[in-house]
Symmetry: C2
Subunit: 272 residues, 2 copies
């Protein structure tokens, strides 16, 4: 029995969502903090459009300050409107949150549970002086970095490993084993911006930020890149490096099984 | 008699300044608005460092919401400190304003009066859906743009012309004749971002934004690119297009005579 199917007479809608996470407490609804969450912001906007309470689930709960270019969420619409939903949402969402696309999804589509792969990007601004424009969207590291060295450390992430060393405390999970398909640093267009791109079947709490913080620490102390392999083997958070700050992290893409993707369809005439 | 020379026993300091203009009322000190100006923010920080009132002049007064990657300013320091001034300023400036470099300048250096050329950039985000990350730093235009067309319209800007048609009201100037050395649109790395780069010996009030707004309007109405030439000839603001929004505009570089540049020197040991 799949308890996550839509209620009778509702339609499951899939959303592609982008946001600037700077002024949010993260994806998840939190009643305790004063800062709004992306989830409650989106739910409030959808509830206004449908004039009924709407709940949303997302592919991954991004932390406070983390951005998204391609977060995926779903909700169950009480009725079907022929309007351009992303366009309609513009007037009820703040400029820092945007729904880029909306589809009618098959009932078994679940933003969290159906996801098979995710891609994250982490931006490092690597220059002697701070840059106020990039400050919102990158981590400023003064010491000049060697991309080849960083890629050697990153290479040990690839494959199926127990990533317990890179899991921050707080959210219990059944297993800390994850598969990383791709992990690579590159310099963005000969600039001072370094980009770390990582794709995996799933990520532990703050895993990307912990991995980035560790790679940059190994570089700082001039360690052998193989140290990365040893740290993974330790399966102990205290053996790895610090958590890199949230402003450099972007949830870029979530992957779903092809047959689910194929069953998703637009329900409005795109204005563009 | 040059009234702009430093007072006795002071040293003229040249600064390279970058800022995110989003939350400022522009460069210039304004007592009337509640929002701070870049000028007063910088002056307050310098006054704290020198423990004396400091006044700053800049190469150009950017408008509210306009950003800078390479604004140039000068002030007269009451005494010479051997400290790394950009570094010291970090602790007294908000993260949205950064002094990237500081030099002892020759007494005759004047950020505004000595400037010979300026380069501005304007970013257009050209995609059907809004992008919350780029929203702070670009103008969102939905209709697909043709770079070749835009470049045809831009070509008529090059040379020495009376640019009265592109001058917003408010600041009287002796002459509305300016020389544009370079004006070109390009697509940034095959992305949805279009960049207009323009270099000239000077710019009238809101001239870059008025020029951009006009080029985009000509594109929108499918006009002959030669209309740009006619509009320049009209010497009438009402014949040109709207003022493009400030968030897309970046003051990128200010040029000074080579001999003045050569006389500028650092007065501290750079930490980097």
């Amino acid at each position: 029995v799949n308890l996550n199917l839509p209620a009778p007479n509702t339609t499951r809608i899939r959303l592609l969502v982008a946001y600037d996470g700077t002024d949010f407490c993260g994806w998840q609804r939190q009643s305790t903090t004063g800062t709004p969450s992306i989830q409650e912001t989106l739910e409030k906007a959808l509830s206004k459009i449908y004039d009924a309470p709407i709940n949303c689930s997302a592919a991954g709960r991004t932390d406070a300050g983390v951005h998204a270019l391609g977060q995926v969420a779903h909700f169950d619409a009480p009725r079907l409107m022929k309007t351009d939903l992303p366009w309609a949402l513009r007037s009820v969402l703040p400029p820092s949150v945007a729904v880029k696309e909306a589809w009618i999804a098959p009932p078994e589509f679940h933003a969290t549970l159906s996801a098979t792969k995710k891609n994250y990007r982490y931006l490092v601004y690597n220059a002697p002086r701070v840059n106020p424009i990039l400050g919102r969207y990158s981590y400023w590291v003064r010491d000049p970095q060697d991309i080849a060295y960083l890629n050697q450390t990153a290479s040990y992430l690839i494959g199926t490993h127990d990533f317990k060393s890179f899991q921050s405390a707080g959210t219990p999970v059944r297993s800390t084993v994850r598969t990383i398909y791709h992990a690579e640093w590159r310099r963005v267009f000969h600039s001072n911006v370094l980009l770390f791109s990582v794709t995996g079947d799933g990520f532990l709490k703050q895993m990307v930020r912990n991995v980035v913080g560790t790679m940059l620490d190994l570089a700082k102390y001039g360690c052998d890149p193989q140290e990365m392999k040893r740290i993974i083997g330790e399966q102990n958070r205290t053996k790895a490096g610090p958590t890199a700050p949230p402003e450099g992290l972007f949830m870029r893409k979530v992957y779903y099984p092809l047959d689910l993707d194929r069953q998703c369809r637009k329900f409005y005439n795109d204005k563009s």
